[in-house]
């Protein structure tokens, strides 16, 4: 009988490595490859060689959070062998990063891949967190003055513990004013299959989220996760709310890319 509570592991950042594995995620692959390329170029600009394993598909999270753990495990198992060297694995998403870092150990508990999964979990990093705390990135803003709002995904905030990272990166940009929406920590209502299984509730949530973002006066928001982006941007577009979204990595690269590349 257990008597211990699950402790949130203390994050110990590695020293800045020469190489990293880049795990692009399926949503970025299909819908937002620009955000992926932006992330890769930001890493390269920091002097890091980016290895993009060709065998990458999906981390398994959609099936995992829907309860189909057999299917999630078989997909995740096919991904475990993509990272043979001890380099960090960086993920441009709190949600997929959270799957690998927080849930792989549970998913592979009592299986022969358990220690491999644990090792991969331990070296998985959300990309903005990695840029700030491992690369110690210094951003030089080259853009015109602008105002943005930010929505940090729930998984980035609570599973990966990076709620402060996005605002800190944005604060390095001299011409960018960051405005915070009311109830910033509240979910946008995406939740993967939740948006499909409970469409009306999800719609009420995203509508409130888009309204809060509009109320900041900003016409643009950035986010760490493509799920939230699809949800909030798509809702605003459909209901003609004056706010547009993009991935934070695209935004950071646009603001700082030209002079360095």
């Amino acid at each position: 009988m257990k008597t211990e509570t699950a402790q949130t592991p203390v994050k110990i950042y590695p020293p800045k490595p020469d190489k990293v594995y880049f795990y692009g995620t399926c949503l970025i692959d299909l819908f937002y490859p620009d955000a992926g390329m932006a992330g890769i170029q930001l890493l390269e600009r920091e002097g890091i060689e980016v290895i993009f394993p060709e065998g990458q598909t999906c981390c398994g999270q959609p099936a995992y959070s829907s309860g189909y753990h057999d299917q999630a495990r078989s997909v995740a198992a096919s991904q475990l062998n993509l990272f043979p060297e001890a380099w960090p694995i960086v993920v441009p998403s709190g949600s997929c990063g959270g799957m690998m870092r927080q849930h792989y150990p549970d998913l592979f508990a009592d299986t022969p891949q358990s220690s491999q999964a644990n090792a991969i979990a331990a070296r998985t990093w959300e990309l903005t967190d990695f840029l700030l705390h491992v690369c110690h990135i210094q951003l030089k803003d080259l853009g015109e003055p602008t105002t943005v709002a930010m929505h940090t995904s729930c998984s980035a905030r609570r599973e990966m513990g990076v709620a402060e990272v996005g605002p800190q990166l944005l604060s390095q940009l001299a011409n960018v004013t960051l405005v915070e929406q009311a109830r910033a920590a509240e979910c946008c209502g995406f939740g993967g299959t939740f948006a499909i299984r409970h469409p009306e509730i999800s719609a009420a949530m995203v509508s409130d989220k888009a309204d809060s973002l509009v109320d900041t006066g900003a016409t643009r928001f950035v986010t760490t996760d493509c799920g939230c982006l699809m949800n909030i941007h798509g809702h605003a577009e459909q209901s003609h709310k004056p706010i547009q979204g993009e991935h934070i990595l695209s935004f950071l690269w646009q603001r700082t890319g030209e002079a360095h590349s």
């Binding site: 009988m1 257990k2 008597t3 211990e4 509570t5 699950a6 399926c26 970025i28 692959d29 299909l30 490859p33 620009d34 992926g36 390329m37 932006a38 890769i40 060709e54 598909t57 999906c58 398994g60 959609p62 099936a63 959070s65 829907s66 309860g67 189909y68 753990h69 057999d70 299917q71 495990r73 997909v75 096919s78 009592d110 729930c154 905030r157 609570r158 599973e159 920590a185 509240e186 995406f190 939740g191 993967g192 939740f194 948006a195 499909i196 299984r197 409970h198 469409p199 009306e200 509730i201 999800s202 009420a204 949530m205 995203v206 509508s207 699809m230 798509g234 577009e237 459909q238 209901s239």
Partner: protein, 481 residues
């Protein structure tokens, strides 16, 4: 009487609640207030450490639950409190009726007890000719409105002052007023008379201390103290998981409970009940009973993961912080316990087949787990119940009553195809490449998604393609940024 079998109508009720501006406004306002009060109440506290202490006290108790329950019975009996065990809600109702009948009791005044709601005790007693009157103000309002509690701590939170005033006017003749003080005083006056006449007082229990045989009960209105001291007989009813080992375990739990629940540093009343009136004492009931209800809890106890559900101290913080609960309100769930804790607890009490909508009605945002004072990993348990609902893991066969209720051949086929594609990287790359080439044909309507949003647009080239072109030496400039 509202029964838990109404759970299946989750979606129609959600629809109604979402389209009811009054309900939406009442919950949003109340939950915003509760969240900010909680935050203020924990200012200056090492909250993580305190939650860790609270969790450990609960886990230690659960680790030796059978022994502690025996010790509790021994100590309570020694203190003169009569202990009754009930496996089912029906049995618990019957025990309480028999205690009443043996005393010739015709009226029961009740302090707040969610376990009595779980048993549908009021309806049962009424059906047997015993009047049951709620004395907690919120419960009193809900009873008057012939409803069920919409929140475990604030049962009438779905109503605003105007609605309450209107209700009291119709039911008791109280003058219409927006003055909360006046309405409260009026209810209090009506209740006082009932207290004086009641044959039995019935209450819940927050913590039952095994070491000392003490029942701890927190409340704000004094109705709990009156319920447990004015009538000649006091019956306490609680779930078997509410036991703690030592009196000192209450210290962290009592620091956590009111702050998490209502943002109070301490409740107005903290009752420590350790027995009936002694010969030299001037007041207190002549008889005290404790009814310990199982109702599926010992099944939860058998599973090392699900066991965490039983840590709960019923503060309601998870619902106060839940974006789904805030939108749909408590009645939408159709269960005794709504919100996140209801989603992980109710499927055990009523079976997954009845509670089939509960585990999926969450975006897994994690706000509930983040604020839980005893660190119940609620999102993880929701995923576990989803797995049970679809029999989704052959390595860990499903256990719960009603498991597999949501396993549908078509859905299984979709996930199997998804898994197959994602296990074959070459095929995945080919399929995604073809998909992006056909992007002009992408449908604008994607079921429920595009009812409220535009469809996400496929990129002209996948990241895989862009990276492979890059590796083949195409300069980056040619890759569309």
């Amino acid at each position: 009487m509202t029964t838990d079998t109404a759970v299946r109508d989750f979606h129609p009720r959600a629809h109604a609640a979402l389209n009811n501006p009054q309900i939406r406004a009442n919950f949003r306002k109340a939950m915003d207030g509760l969240m900010s009060k909680r935050q203020q109440a924990f200012e200056g506290w090492a909250l993580d450490t305190l939650r860790e202490q609270g969790a450990k006290a609960r886990l230690r108790a659960l680790a030796k639950l059978p022994e502690l329950l025996e010790q509790l019975e021994t100590q309570l009996t020694a203190n003169g409190i009569q202990v009754h065990w009930a496996e089912s809600p029906d049995e618990a109702c019957r025990i309480i009726r028999e205690i009443c009948e043996a005393r010739g009791a015709k009226s029961v005044i009740k302090g707040k007890s969610m376990v009595s709601e779980e048993m549908h005790l009021n309806a049962y007693l009424e059906a047997h000719g015993i009047e049951a009157l709620e004395s907690d103000l919120g419960e009193y309002i809900v009873q008057m409105a012939e409803e069920t509690p919409s929140h475990i701590i604030m049962p009438a939170i779905h109503k605003n002052t105007g609605e309450i005033s209107e209700l009291m006017h119709h039911k008791t003749g109280t003058q219409r007023s927006q003055d909360v003080e006046y309405l409260t005083a009026s209810a209090r006056q009506q209740l006082r008379e009932k207290f004086m006449r009641a044959d039995v007082g019935l209450s819940g229990v927050n913590f039952a201390v095994a070491e000392t045989g003490t029942l701890c009960l927190v409340e704000n209105e004094g109705n709990g103290r009156m319920t447990t001291t004015v009538p000649p007989c006091h019956i306490a009813v609680t779930g078997i998981e509410k036991v703690v080992e030592k009196l000192e375990d209450i210290t962290p739990l009592l620091a956590l409970l009111p702050r998490s629940a209502t943002g109070q540093h301490i409740t107005t009343y903290v009752n420590m009940i350790s027995g009936p009136r002694q010969p030299e004492e001037r007041d207190g009931p002549e008889a005290v009973h404790l009814v310990l209800l199982d109702n599926g809890r010992s099944d939860i106890y058998q599973d090392d993961e699900l066991l965490d559900t039983l840590r709960c101290i019923r503060c309601g913080a998870c619902m106060n912080h839940c974006p789904v609960y805030t939108r749909v309100g408590g009645h939408t769930y159709g269960t005794t316990y709504p919100g996140p804790i209801g989603k992980i607890l109710m499927p055990h009490l009523i079976g997954l087949d009845e509670g089939r909508h509960l585990p999926s009605a969450s975006s897994l945002c994690g706000a509930c787990g983040e604020v839980c004072p005893v660190k119940i990993p609620i999102p993880k348990l929701l995923v576990r119940l989803r797995r049970e609902a679809v029999d989704g893991d052959q390595l860990h066969p499903s256990q719960m009553s009603g498991h597999g209720v949501k396993r549908q051949r078509f859905e299984v086929m979709i996930w199997q195809s998804w898994a197959w594609l994602n296990q074959h990287p070459r095929l995945y790359r080919l399929a995604t490449r073809i998909t992006t080439r056909l992007r002009k044909l992408q449908p604008h309507r994607l079921g429920a998604w595009t009812r409220y949003r535009t469809a996400p647009r496929l990129a002209p080239k996948t990241l895989h393609e862009q990276m492979s072109e890059r590796q083949r030496g195409k300069p980056l400039a040619e890759v569309k940024r």
